[in-house]
């Protein structure tokens, strides 16, 4: 075991931090809140050129051969500037599934351009009724000629409004809740029959509701084996949860350090408000939660690369719980200790607050992860 960042990792962290400071501070995110795309393809390409999108992918897939943790460290830094480019949907979700399931030809077609920053992507898996159950899928993918025809609706698709490529889950067999019969498809977002309705979220980022009305795709759209997509989908969502913890960690750091700064600066009753013990003790508890989040985030990122699915789930669930519960303590107090100005849109702290609350609800909330952990053999043991 070794808890130190490598020299390379420290260099990556340094260069992303510089990028955020110089090229993508929170002000850029504020501007992007009024943009129809919500992010900038020029910046996306720049991130591709820096190798930040390809970092966790193997060299044969056109990647750099780094680890998930390397990627997590990048996400943590990007969060400091609320950098709005669609990293998690394109790289972690769609990119991850393409790397795991895609044929050489599919990788060439879609993965390469994503990793190079020439294209973006989205994973369309959630439906109105599915909540956090990944195998709950009503979207049908029926055999049609050599290929398939898709009908159904997907909700809250991150980057669904502007993705070039969609990875879509659809039922080729079984019924609504079955693991069997779930298939994944790689579809160009401009395919006939797809209707995209953009929805801007409370965090200022865009998602989309997607309708598939008789969308015809060829046999070469199928990712992996027909009917066997559930494991890979769960794997991808787990990794997205770990990525959310990394991004969330960056948000927490910002909220926390800005709060301490504010306590040291704002004066009331003739003294710095940071001298009030009632506020100090909240700050101390916030510090503890931020530190705990940092630890679980690292563990989750390390396990995201693991082949041991049971262990991966346990660590990622523990991290997501900590991000939700511990994170919530930090974010609610960040606003509270800022007082009235904490509730204005002018202060960045509220923007971090909203983004974190969105991340907490994505890829399984606290109750979902506690429930999953409570059912795991790790918790239940061999006895039952």
């Amino acid at each position: 075991m070794d808890f130190e960042l490598s020299k390379e990792q420290r260099m990556i962290v340094g260069s992303v931090a510089t990028f955020v400071k110089e090229d993508s501070p929170v002000e850029r995110f504020r501007e992007m809140r009024n943009d129809d795309r919500g992010w900038d393809p020029v910046v996306w390409k720049q991130m591709g050129d820096y190798g930040w999108l390809a970092i966790a992918f193997s060299e044969e897939d056109g990647g750099i051969g780094g680890s998930f943790l390397d990627m997590a460290l990048i996400l943590e830094q990007l969060a400091h500037g609320l950098v709005p480019e669609p990293y998690i949907p394109s790289v972690v979700l769609a990119g991850g599934l393409l790397a795991r399931l895609g044929s050489a030809e599919q990788k060439q077609r879609a993965l390469r351009p994503i990793l190079d920053g020439d294209a973006s992507a989205a994973l369309a898996y959630g439906e109105r009724q599915s909540r956090y159950d990944l195998t709950d899928c009503l979207t049908r993918a029926e055999r049609s000629g050599d290929g398939y025809r898709l009908d159904g609706e997907k909700t809250w698709v991150l980057n669904g409004h502007s993705a070039d490529w969609l990875v879509v889950s659809g039922r080729t067999g079984g019924s609504q809740l079955d693991r069997e019969g779930l298939s994944l498809f790689l579809i160009p977002a401009d395919a006939a029959g797809i209707t995209r309705t953009p929805v801007r979220g409370m965090d200022g980022q865009l998602t989309a509701f997607l309708r598939f009305d008789g969308v015809e795709v060829g046999a070469d759209a199928l990712l992996g084996t027909e009917g066997q997509g559930a494991d890979a989908l769960e794997w991808a969502i787990d990794r997205a949860a770990a990525a959310a913890c990394a991004e969330g960690q960056g948000l927490l750091q910002q909220m926390f350090s800005r709060t301490v700064e504010y306590l040291n600066q704002r004066e009331q009753f003739g003294v710095k408000i940071g001298s009030f013990q009632a506020l100090q003790h909240r700050a101390a508890d916030m510090f503890a939660e931020v530190e705990l989040c940092k630890g679980t985030m690292i563990l989750a990122a390390l396990e995201a690369d693991s082949d041991d699915a049971e262990k991966r789930r346990a660590e990622i669930s523990a991290a997501k719980l900590q991000l939700s519960d511990g994170g919530w303590y930090v974010q609610e107090n960040a606003i509270q200790l800022h007082g009235g100005v904490g509730v204005t849109d002018e202060q960045d702290v509220g923007l971090y607050f909203k983004r974190l609350r969105v991340l907490q609800g994505l890829f399984g909330d606290a109750d979902h992860h506690v429930g999953r952990y409570a059912r795991s053999s790790r918790f239940v043991g061999a006895a039952s």
């Binding site: 070794d2 808890f3 710095k272 013990q277 101390a284 510090f287 530190e291 630890g295």
Partner: protein, 412 residues
């Protein structure tokens, strides 16, 4: 960064596991299976067994009898000890005064005290708190007056853990009342058999005699037993505090409780099934176990930093803070699991609750102390705010200026 174990680590784990299995006496094993609650004699027996193997102080430097293990091996060792539910060794010698002597003791002091701490031949207690110096430790009043080669001690310590069983005490005393109150404090080592030192145990909420009031009347302690310079006691106390905070979070104890609560839920009948069938109970337990994982990770990070030569800093305060809160929460859940049996008390006839649960209500009550001892959790928060966050001293903590003395108006 890497959290995987090498084949060598796995082999080491096997070695530790089989050693523990072979080394436990039948008596200790029986107590371990009943969920702990070891007697002082059993704990000391285990100390001697580990010392013979050379494993009583894994975190000490090798030259002083440590094992030379890296943080990973120490972590594995600790995990296996918890897994086997082996007795926890008393921290006062091994975890506190030992490391302090290694850092600040004279060669004579090291030679005199360290070997017997290692073997457990001499046990230690801690003389810090006084009736009027709790959180405000620097207000302590135990007087030490120089006389010849000795200090003569007069006063009282309280909350001296297990002083009735201890051979030695490390203590903070006042050698001067001039200047800042922190500046007149000195760190001494005293033999508990010294005439004039008397430890009187008192009952705690746990129903056991875990703490003492310790009285000093004209007790003579050689000046050679002073650690650090006269008036340097506060520096010693602060250095020692870092060591204390890392161990005091009770992370291993929480792990033991978690597995016992699980077992209790499985063995507690409810209707036709057991408490384990109750999903809402399982979810509460799962949440605490997950929190424990987060805390364990924070602990590894502190351990790893220590391995790189950083002394445990104020960051270790969060281990104490979160660790003791979690420990209490787990014990609270244990009592919920007991249900109406949560009234069980020491001395109840066998069979009223499972054997391993007989101690639970005593420990639950005793562990109310966890958020108070070793610097109350509120004090830990003060430390975090001052030393890490750089926040200003709270008004309540500022030294109030003494008003100028003015001549009383003479009534005319």
């Amino acid at each position: 960064m890497d959290m995987t174990f090498t084949p060598e680590d796995h082999a080491f784990r096997e070695e530790v596991r089989s050693f523990i299995a072979a080394a436990m006496t039948p008596d200790i094993r029986e107590a371990a299976e009943k969920g702990g609650g070891f007697s002082h004699e059993q704990t000391m027996e285990w100390h001697r067994i580990l010392a013979e193997k050379g494993w009583s102080a894994p975190h000490w430097p090798e030259e002083h009898g440590g094992t030379g293990w890296d943080a990973t091996k120490r972590f594995i060792f600790n995990e296996e000890m918890v897994h086997a539910n082996a007795p926890s060794l008393s921290p006062f010698g091994l975890g506190m005064v030992g490391p302090l002597l290694i850092q600040f003791g004279t060669e004579e002091q090291k030679a005199r005290f360290l070997p017997k701490i290692l073997t457990g031949e001499e046990t230690w207690c801690q003389g810090y708190s006084e009736p009027n110096a709790g959180s405000d430790l620097a207000s302590l009043q135990l007087r030490a007056d120089k006389d010849g080669d000795d200090y003569v001690l007069n006063g009282q310590k309280t909350w001296t853990s297990a002083a009735q069983d201890a051979d030695w005490i490390f203590l903070l005393c006042r050698t001067s009342s001039a200047g800042q109150k922190q500046d007149g404090i000195t760190f001494l080592l005293a033999d508990m058999k010294t005439p004039g030192i008397e430890a009187k145990p008192f009952l705690t909420l746990g129903g056991t005699l875990a703490f003492c009031d310790t009285y000093f009347s004209d007790a003579r302690v050689p000046q050679a037993n002073r650690v650090g310079p006269e008036g340097g006691g506060w520096t010693m106390a602060k250095a020692l505090l870092g060591h204390e905070r890392t161990g005091i979070g009770g992370i291993s104890t929480s792990a033991r409780w978690l597995s016992q609560v699980k077992r209790l839920a499985r063995e507690t009948p409810v209707g036709a099934g057991t408490l384990w069938d109750d999903e809402s109970f399982r979810l509460r337990l799962a949440r605490l176990e997950m929190r424990h994982r987060a805390l364990a990770m924070a602990n590894y990070r502190t351990l790893a930093a220590a391995q790189l030569g950083h002394a445990p800093g104020p960051e270790s305060s969060i281990l104490k803070l979160v660790g003791t809160e979690l420990l209490q929460e787990v014990t609270e859940l244990a009592l919920d699991a007991l249900g109406p049996a949560a009234q069980v008390w020491l001395g109840a006839p066998e069979g009223v609750v499972p054997d391993f649960a007989r101690q639970m209500t005593s420990e639950f009550n005793y562990l109310r102390a966890a958020t108070i001892y070793g610097g109350s959790n509120e004090i830990q928060k003060n430390i975090i705010c001052k030393a890490i966050l750089g926040l200003p001293d709270p008004l309540s903590m500022r030294r109030l200026k003494t008003p100028e003395r003015t001549a009383p108006a003479v009534a005319g």
